[in-house]
Structure formats: structure tokens, C-alpha cells
């Protein structure tokens, strides 16, 4: 007996859709978020995302915490490049209280932020490789991310959620070991990265998987609020570092790589090129490192050195005031944006002069551009959808805040 026997022709022609749950915990989602896919065979007809699995109410918690304690919250937004988030937050508060950070601190921040960008892009691109079946590149590159983490560790003592820097500068000057490690990284990493590029960039198999999949036009990308490498891959040369320079980015020579079609390959290539540009920026910053202090003269916000706390009255008072969150901040509202690993990371802060922000809103690039995901994968294959997701670099921490 045939299973089609008792069905009319119309019934048979009616499309039969399957529902497929991609996530919440699926190895290919690299984080916890769910996609409910409506499938026609292996073609995606429709998709709906569910987010919020690791929502931690940062915006509410921030309304209760003194300013210096919010840095640890920002660590956990995009945890692949936490130093950028930390610096962004410090700069937001510095903007509010009107502090100019010394040039040396700004250059040091640039070095740290660019290292973080490299680490972020390395993870993303290595994982694009993994999702297309090329595990080798991933194993090559991850030791280099470890070396970047070693540099963070040498600077601030932490590796992943760094809590690096302070409001008003950095906690301490780079020591010799930091310089040694950065120089060693700059000398050796390009060779390894070149190897990775050779593995994938012109690889026929990889090429066939990523070209023309998950494409988005520049107009659509802008309408969906894309920023960062994903927007640049679509051909819009918007980069916060150039448009609204912060932390002395105007002193450095670098180019903004742009793509053409906004497909997975372009996103991959834009990140590849940005890694080279970041290396270039770090070199320039090291060569032109200005002399001077690594913190601004803001005793009300910048924790004094421990020796001073034990031996000097003022230092003890300021230490106590900062730790108890008693420093006065002006009233006002600030929006400050930095170019995060994934795009424009904005901090919108309303201060009513109290010890904690009255309102703090994080503009998380992931959260905004992930909306476009169904549109990008509709009509494509499931295997392409996985690659599209990993090339968009959706980080669950940033998605849910």
C-alpha cells in the first residue's frame, strides 16, 4: 500500500514544512540562542529567533552600582573583546566628568583595544573555518589568542573578563615583560596568520561554501542597523574610529577594508584585513609611544597607589571615597561610542548626580544586527545558515546584556 494513495493531487502539492530547532544549545550557535527554522527539505523558508537565555539585567544592576563597579558588567557583554568594552565605559565616564587622559594612556589603550580586536576577529574567523569543516585553522590560531590573553594577564592580571584600566587612565604602566610579549607577538603572529590565510582565503572548497551565501545589500544592512565589519562587508565604510575618533585614533594611519556583496566571504575577508590593520596600528603606537603619566589627575576617580593609601592622608581619603562610591559626578547625559569587535558599541548614560547612573543603556551591535538573520538565510540551505551565523559573529553575552 502506497502512502500517497488516499491523497488528492492538491494535498500532495501542498508544501510540507518541517520545524527545526537550531539551538538553544547547539554546537553551531556558539552561545545560547534559539532559531526556530521552518524548513522545506533542506531549504529554509522562514526563521524566528528567540533571545534572552543569558539575560543578566545589566542595565538594572548598573542603576545601583557606583561608576567604577560597572566596568565588570561591560566585561561580560562581548566577552571575546572585553578590553574594548572596558575602555568604552571608562571613556564614557571620562567624557561625563570632563577628563582629558594623557596621551601615553591613550596610546596604551589603543594597543590594548587593537589586541582585543585581533583576538575577537581571530575567534570569529577561525570559527567560520570550523563551521565549514576546516578545523586546522582553528587549532593554529587559538594559541595566538592565548598569547594575546597572556599580554592582558601581564597588563592587568586577568585574561578573559579583564576589567582592564580605570576611570582616568590605566592601573599601571606597561612593564618590560608586556613590551617583550607584544613585540614577540608582532614578530611571530604575522607568519602564523599568513599560514591561516593561505589555508582558507583562496581555498576552492571554502570559496564554494562562502561566496554568495548570507548576502545582504548595503541599503538593507544600514536599515537593519548593521555596524562594524558586517556593515563594511556590505560596502559602507563606516568606522567609529575614523568617523568620531576617540583615544587618539586620529594619530594613526590605517585603512578601512570594505567588501562588496556583504556575503559570508566578504565578512570573513574584512575581518582578515582588519587584523592586518590592527597589527599596523599597534606597531605605530609602540613606535610613537609618548612619555608621561598613564593616568589623569583625577584623584576623585582614579584609585591611588597602595603605598600612598597607607602613608598619605589624602590618598587614604580618596581611596575610601572611591571604594564607597562617594565621588561626585556632574548631572548630564552622554552618548559615547567605540568601535567594538562587532561594531558600534555605544554607552548612553544619564546621570542625575547620584552615586550610580540614573539610566545606563548599552547599544549592543549584536543585538541590533542579529534581527536581520532570518532575512539573510531565507531561501538558503541549512548548512549555509550556520556559516552565516558564525560569520556575523553573534556573541550571546552582547546579544542579551
Amino acid at each position: 500500500m502506497n502512502e500517497f494513495e488516499d491523497k488528492s493531487i492538491e494535498q500532495l502539492e501542498e508544501p510540507q514544512y518541517n520545524t527545526l530547532n537550531l539551538g538553544p544549545t547547539h554546537p553551531a550557535t556558539h552561545g545560547i540562542f534559539q532559531n526556530i527554522l521552518k524548513m522545506d527539505g533542506e531549504i529554509i523558508v522562514d526563521a524566528e529567533q528567540t533571545v534572552g537565555y543569558i539575560h543578566r539585567a545589566f542595565e538594572k544592576i548598573a542603576e545601583r552600582r557606583p561608576y567604577y563597579q560597572i566596568t565588570t558588567l561591560t566585561d561580560r557583554l562581548n566577552y571575546c573583546s572585553s578590553p574594548i568594552n572596558n575602555m568604552g565605559w571608562h571613556m564614557t565616564v571620562e567624557k561625563l566628568i570632563g577628563v582629558e587622559v594623557p596621551k601615553r594612556a591613550q596610546y596604551m589603550r589603543v594597543i590594548i583595544m587593537e589586541l582585543a580586536r585581533i583576538a575577537d576577529h581571530l575567534v570569529c574567523n577561525a570559527v567560520v573555518g570550523v563551521d565549514s569543516g576546516a578545523l586546522t585553522g582553528f587549532t593554529y590560531l587559538f594559541q595566538w589568542r592565548e598569547k594575546i590573553y597572556d599580554i592582558y594577564e601581564q597588563i592587568c592580571g586577568a585574561r578573559l573578563t579583564t576589567n582592564i584600566g580605570r576611570i582616568g587612565g590605566l592601573e599601571r604602566d606597561f612593564n618590560d615583560e608586556v613590551y617583550k610579549k607584544i613585540k614577540a607577538f608582532l614578530a611571530e603572529f604575522p607568519k602564523a596568520f599568513k599560514e591561516f590565510s593561505n589555508l582558507l582565503e583562496r581555498n576552492r572548497i571554502f570559496y564554494d561554501r562562502v561566496v554568495n551565501t548570507g548576502a545582504i545589500t548595503a541599503e538593507k544592512a544600514m536599515a537593519y542597523g548593521f555596524t562594524g565589519p558586517n556593515l563594511r562587508a556590505a560596502g559602507v565604510d563606516y568606522d567609529v574610529r575614523v568617523m568620531n575618533p576617540y583615544s587618539s585614533y586620529e594619530d594613526f594611519e590605517f585603512t578601512i577594508p570594505v567588501g562588496e556583496k556583504g556575503d559570508t566571504y566578504d565578512r570573513f575577508m574584512v575581518r582578515q584585513q582588519e587584523i592586518w590593520e590592527s597589527l599596523n596600528i599597534i606597531k605605530q603606537a609602540l613606535d610613537n609611544m609618548p612619555q608621561g603619566k598613564w593616568y589623569a589627575d583625577v584623584p576623585e576617580f582614579y584609585l591611588p597607589p597602595k603605598e600612598d593609601v597607607y602613608n598619605k592622608m589624602e590618598a587614604l581619603i580618596y581611596h575610601f571615597k572611591i571604594v564607597m562610591g562617594e565621588s561626585d559626578v556632574p548631572k548630564g547625559e552622554v552618548y559615547h561610542a567605540v568601535e567594538g569587535g562587532n561594531g558600534e558599541l555605544g554607552f548612553y548614560l544619564i546621570s542625575d548626580g547620584g552615586r550610580a547612573p540614573f539610566r545606563l543603556h548599552f547599544r549592543r551591535p549584536c543585538f541590533i544586527y542579529y534581527q536581520a538573520y532570518p532575512e539573510m538565510i531565507k531561501g538558503g540551505m541549512l548548512s549555509d545558515a550556520i556559516l552565516t551565523m558564525s560569520s556575523m559573529n553573534v556573541i550571546a553575552g552582547e546579544l542579551d546584556a
Partner: protein
């Protein structure tokens, strides 16, 4: 060619929207425009399509609550960005507590979709005309709006953590 700066934009808005423009100021380099809630959609639409300003990128939508401002307890804040002129504009629309509704700008910017859902999720601000206004990061069963100021962050029944010892 006229230089497009904040002053110029304010004058232009004044001409087009007259009394709907409540206040214009500048804070930390960004132009602040306070507009009546009914005109917020029209203003953003106009900014997007104006041939000179071209603020065609929506950076951010978020909400805020000011319990002390009677009659305008809630606020929806939009950040627009003109890539061409490199000008950021912040638009604020205040709405009352008993009727927290405002027109959705999702038809103008698809990017606003989730951001408006998030604002609804946390503040209960209803965006009229939104295609799919439901909670986004919190569970659907939640029966309150957590970012509102009347919900304290810490458990109010605890007695071992008195605010006065923490300078709060």
C-alpha cells in the same frame, strides 16, 4: 553650500514642526531635541528623508523613566546618525504614565523592531503599529516591567543590608 551644524538643524526643525519642538539643547556635542510624542514619528521620518541632513541611520532606541516629572514619566530616546554630515541627533519624546503609547518607527527602520520590543519589555511602553510587540529578553509570563524605578533591585525584605551603611 550651507554648513550643517546643530544650530542650522534646530532652525529647520523649528520651521517644519513649530510648537511640537519643545526644547533643543546640546549636551556633550550631541544635539538634543525634545519633541511632542505625537510628532516623534513625523520628525524621524523627516530627518531620514531630508535631502540635506540625511540622518538615515538609526543608532539606538531606548526608554527611560523619570518618576518625578508628572505627566511625562516615560521617555523614549532615539539616536539618529547622519553618515554623510557626521552628525548625531538625539530625539526625546516624553509620554505620560497612564497612557504610555507612542508610534512605532519600525516601518521606517527595521532596526527599531527589537529595540522597541526591548523598551516594551523593560518599561511597558507600547509602540503602536509595531508588527510583533512582545517581550524579547524576559520570559513571556512576566507580569511587570523590570526597569521601572518602582521595582527595587535588591530584595526589600532583607534586614542585614541596610542602605545607610553603604552610602545609598
Amino acid at each position: 553650500m550651507t554648513t550643517i551644524n546643530n544650530e542650522y538643524i534646530v532652525n529647520k526643525v523649528q520651521q517644519h514642526f513649530g510648537n511640537a519642538l519643545k526644547e533643543a539643547s546640546e549636551s556633550y556635542g550631541i544635539l538634543n531635541i525634545e519633541i511632542s510624542a505625537e510628532k516623534a514619528y513625523a520628525l524621524i521620518d523627516w530627518f531620514k528623508h531630508d535631502s540635506e541632513i540625511k540622518a538615515s541611520f538609526l543608532t539606538d532606541v531606548c526608554g527611560a523613566q523619570f518618576p518625578d516629572l508628572v505627566g511625562k514619566e516615560f521617555c523614549v530616546i532615539y539616536h539618529l546618525h547622519s553618515f554623510i554630515n557626521n552628525i548625531r541627533i538625539r530625539i526625546k519624546a516624553f509620554i505620560p504614565k497612564d497612557n504610555p503609547t507612542i508610534a512605532s518607527i519600525t516601518p521606517l527602520f527595521p532596526a527599531a523592531n527589537w529595540q522597541e520590543r526591548e523598551t516594551f519589555d523593560f518599561y511597558g511602553i507600547v509602540f503602536v503599529g509595531h508588527p510583533n510587540l512582545k517581550r524579547i529578553v524576559n520570559v513571556d509570563e512576566m507580569d511587570y516591567f523590570p526597569l521601572r524605578k518602582e521595582y527595587p533591585l535588591e530584595d526589600g525584605t532583607r534586614t542585614d543590608k541596610e542602605d545607610k551603611y553603604f552610602g545609598r
